[in-house]
């Protein structure tokens, strides 16, 4: 069994799974319960400025029969008095010395306010501090949360206020509500942060009720934008994680990253690890199913690590980062084509319509090897989809819509052309940047676009 323990900027935990700063970490009752079930750590629900919450608070995005493909919320930071939170953080840490207990804070943007809250957190015995620069609703309007995270200069300034006065590891939590997340990441590095965490929730309106025309969640007939999270945000989180993990400043400073955004299963977790996350934070999956999911998260991750021959989590952290490239560095001569296995094909012909109407018209419907027109065909033999490999651009779409496992495979074929990237090509033959030059080049190397 693989070693799941991690050391995150000096914060140790028996496994990489932490509860994110959110409703599941609102109280000692919840965090104790989570630790009993095996969670490696918890980032306490953000403490700081006094707030009042509204009712209702959460909105769900249901797709097909899947509930909570995503959730959004307009709940604010903890509305429990600060001294209650601080007392409970201290109690929990004392009870669970081997788990990571991290306090999250968000206060008015003054050095005094931050000094005050940091000193109080230090007294609890917490293992670290997460600076919440991410919350996109409610607090941002008061100059906190994402209002800080979206301005790199504020990011650096406040991080400096904190890192200069505390001995605890400082984790800066980044907002995705920004055009380039590496800017606040670099700003946090400049401010002396010990670690980063991302992503916070994405600004969103989750939906409109078709009967009442009211926004969801509905507060007395009105609604407001809220933070979007859950499975649907994972691809965005993975992109931002890979961008930050691959950033030179972050890499040089060797800052560990706590990854989050849509982690529901050990599979999601493994992807975050491969793209450079050291610890993993989970919220929506727990809000949906409860703390018990930790069993499969740890067990599944451990079995997968064993299968891959990795003795510990640390061996695979960032293992896929070298595979993150910019488009200009991709090999233009790489060639794959789709191949449909007639033995397993069930003739749903979704590949045909997807290719014909949604992509590049490279699949024919055939009967006895002869192409038929589905608009006029009336025979009794069910037509079979067949890929015209010479025309197939290798877009993957057919294999993505195919409902049968492994029926459509993307097969690598020689293109007959030497490897070349767009960056190399445009450097060596800048004439391809004009259409006549491009035509000449295509004719020469035999690129035919049908």
């Amino acid at each position: 069994m693989a070693d799941l323990s991690i050391d995150f900027a000096g914060i140790k935990s028996p496994n990489p799974f932490w509860l994110a700063s959110a409703p599941p970490t609102n109280s000692a009752y919840q965090v104790n319960k989570a630790f009993e079930q095996g969670w490696g750590g918890a980032v306490w629900k953000t403490i700081g400025a006094p707030v009042l919450n509204v009712s209702s608070r959460y909105g769900g995005y249901e797709y097909g029969t899947q509930k909570l493909v995503a959730i959004n919320n307009i709940e604010l930071i903890s509305d429990r008095p600060m001294d209650v939170n601080l007392r409970e953080i201290a109690e929990v840490k004392k009870l669970w010395p081997d788990r990571a207990v991290i306090a999250s804070a968000m206060v008015e943007s003054t050095p005094e306010a931050w000094r005050d809250v940091i000193m109080k957190i230090e007294d609890t015995g917490a293992d670290g501090i997460e600076l919440n620069y991410g919350c996109p609703h409610g607090m941002s309007e008061r100059g906190m949360g994402s209002a800080v995270g979206q301005v790199p200069e504020y990011c650096t300034m406040i991080t400096e206020w904190v890192t200069q006065i505390t001995r605890l590891p400082v984790i800066v939590k980044l907002t995705p509500n920004i055009s380039d997340i590496t800017l606040p990441a670099q700003a946090a590095v400049a401010g002396g942060a010990n670690a980063l965490s991302l992503i916070n929730t994405i600004n969103s309106v989750i939906g409109v009720d078709l009967d009442s025309f009211q926004l969801r969640p509905n507060v007395g007939g009105q609604g407001s934008h809220g933070g979007y999270a859950g499975p649907a945000v994972k691809p965005i989180a993975l992109h931002m994680l890979s961008a930050v993990a691959g950033n030179d400043d972050v890499a040089t400073a060797k800052l560990p990253i706590s990854g989050m955004g849509g982690i529901q299963t050990w599979r999601d977790a493994a992807e975050f690890l491969l793209l450079g996350a050291t610890s993993l934070q989970v919220c929506t999956a727990v809000m949906h199913y409860g703390f018990r999911i930790i069993d499969d998260l740890t067990d599944g991750l451990s079995n997968w690590l064993d299968e891959k021959g990795a003795a510990s989590v640390s061996e695979i952290i960032g293992a896929s980062l070298p595979r993150v490239a910019s488009f200009g560095d991709l090999d233009l001569s790489h060639r794959v084509v789709a191949r449909i296995d007639p033995e397993t094909c069930i003739n749903c012909n979704l590949c045909y319509v997807a290719c014909d109407e949604g992509a590049h018209q490279c699949i024919d419907l055939t009967v006895d090897g002869l192409k038929i027109d589905p608009a006029t065909y009336s025979g009794s033999v069910k037509p079979e989809p067949v890929v015209r490999e010479d025309d197939c651009v290798g877009c993957n779409l057919c294999s993505l819509v195919c409902p049968v496992d492994a029926c459509i495979s993307m097969v690598e074929l020689p293109s007959g052309r030497d490897p070349v990237t767009w960056n190399q090509l445009t450097q060596q033959q800048p004439e391809v940047l004009e259409w006549p030059g491009m035509k000449t080049y295509r004719d020469k190397v035999g690129i035919d676009i049908h």
């Binding site: 097909g64 029969t65 003739n347 749903c348 012909n349 319509v353 589905p374 069910k382 037509p383 409902p403």
Partner: protein, 455 residues
């Protein structure tokens, strides 16, 4: 003869629809299992070509009214068909998921959509303005109602005549309650009437109304008269108390259900029942007898299991109901006691070389007579054709069935026909009758519509 020994509660449990309706959530989950195939095989497998993937997708998105409309555009008998179609032989049998998954429950999804529409009493169609043409339809079964409804949508003035007191044909009288409650059949008739169709029941064409009346009073006539009564066995004892025929036996239970299931308690029922024949009607009659509480129900068939014309799923079903079988047995006499049936005398048969119809011919085994003790005999040995009626119209027939061309026109240019009365070959199903009605309406419109445009 006895009556059912069962309480009303027991009858209610036994005479409700076999399949429960899908709940809203079940329908949504099932709809989302559908792959939404392109050029889907279920459409091709449906005799009325319902756009199955489209209506299922509409259920999935919550557009259930739209789903019902998609169904009705192809099949005005959508509610009946969703209940009585042999779906495993048709749409569900063609489902691409049937290979290594469970096929989509297309029939139950269709019923869900149709129930939704009927519960809300919605009319999704607006008939065209009247075009002044008149069409008479004979027979208010699935073929006639469909033909009438389709023509009414196109602006025709249509009157349907039916000799029975209630419209609906086999849906009303002939499909067992557990498969289709009479309410569903009658709601379907009301839907057709809302399209502007007039329905005249209790009118026997050929007697109360003549062929000349119809041909003189209407631009076209559609005959969807189905089939007649079950023929006699032509064995001694057929007039004994306790001998009945399957269609009226089933019809009585349908009518009892209409008035309230307690009326089932008034029906005569034997303790030991012999049903003669092994088609779907025989299965239905045996099912009813068993569910009414008969102690022993035996299906008597002169050929073997392999030659039965009932569907496989019907045969599986009836065996589960606890009905027993006497294969290779030919009734030769109904034995009586004081004018009341006391047994069915049969002779054992063996199969020999196939006859003209390609099926093995049963021939009697000498000295093999035996008696099945019973106090009720139900005949289900097929149905007679309406020979006299066809003669009254002067129409060509072949083996008793009306002769029609590809456009379902009979030998008389003004008369079209469809449904069981033309089905000399192939399966006689509600859905094929419905398709006939639809196609005949198209033919009539193609013929009369040109003249309308020219008027």
């Amino acid at each position: 003869m006895d009556k059912t020994p069962l309480s009303l509660e027991a009858l209610q449990a036994r005479f409700q629809e076999l399949e429960p309706p899908l709940s809203k959530h079940e329908a949504k989950v099932e709809a989302h299992r559908c792959l939404y195939c392109y050029d889907a095989p279920c459409i091709a497998a449906c005799p009325t070509s319902i756009d199955v993937p489209t209506f299922i997708r509409k259920i999935g998105t919550g557009n259930v009214l739209g789903a019902a409309t998609t169904i009705l555009e192809a099949n005005l008998m959508g509610a009946s068909c969703s209940r009585v179609c042999p779906v495993e032989e048709l749409c569900e049998g063609a489902c691409v998921l049937g290979g290594d998954h469970k096929p989509i429950e297309i029939g139950r999804l269709q019923r869900y959509a149709m129930d939704y529409l009927y519960e809300r009493d919605v009319m999704p169609f607006t008939p065209e303005p009247s075009n002044g043409r008149r069409v008479a339809v004979v027979g208010a079964g699935p073929a006639g109602l469909t033909c009438a409804g389709e023509l009414a949508k196109l602006g025709y003035d249509v009157t349907v005549y039916d000799k029975n007191p209630l419209p609906g044909g086999l849906s009303t009288y002939g499909i067992v309650v557990m498969r289709e409650p009479i309410r569903v059949a009658l709601e379907e008739v009301e839907f057709i009437k809302k399209l502007g169709v007039k329905v005249e029941t209790g009118v026997a064409v050929g007697e109360d109304v003549t062929a000349d009346d119809l041909l003189g009073g209407y631009d076209a006539v559609f005959l969807g008269v189905g089939m007649g009564a079950v023929p006699d066995l032509r064995v001694p004892g057929e007039d004994l108390e306790g001998v009945t025929e399957a269609l009226s036996f089933i019809a009585e239970t349908k009518l009892a259900e209409k008035e309230g299931l307690e009326h089932l308690q008034d029906l005569p029922l034997g303790r030991r029942v012999a049903v003669i024949g092994a088609g779907n009607t025989a299965i239905d009659a045996a099912t009813i007898a068993k569910r009414l509480g008969a102690e022993r129900v035996t299906i008597v068939y002169r050929r073997s299991e392999a030659e039965m014309t009932a569907y496989d799923f019907e045969y599986r079903f009836i065996k589960n109901e606890g009905v027993s079988f006497e294969f290779l047995s030919q009734p030769v006499e109904i034995v009586g006691n004081d004018g009341q049936v006391s047994g069915l005398k049969c002779v054992k048969m063996q199969l020999s070389n196939p006859g003209d119809d390609g099926r093995p011919r049963p021939i009697p085994v000498p000295d093999s007579e035996f008696v099945i003790e019973c106090d009720q005999v139900i005949k289900a040995i097929g149905q007679q054709k309406f020979g006299a009626l066809f003669e009254h119209f002067g129409l060509d027939v072949e083996r008793g069935y009306l002769t029609v061309d590809e456009g379902l026109r009979t030998s008389h240019p003004q008369i079209f026909a469809g449904g069981d009365c033309i089905r000399a070959t192939g399966e006689a199903m509600t859905v094929t009758a419905t398709e006939d009605g639809k196609q005949a309406a198209k033919s009539i419109h193609a013929w009369l519509g040109t003249a309308v445009a020219a008027d």
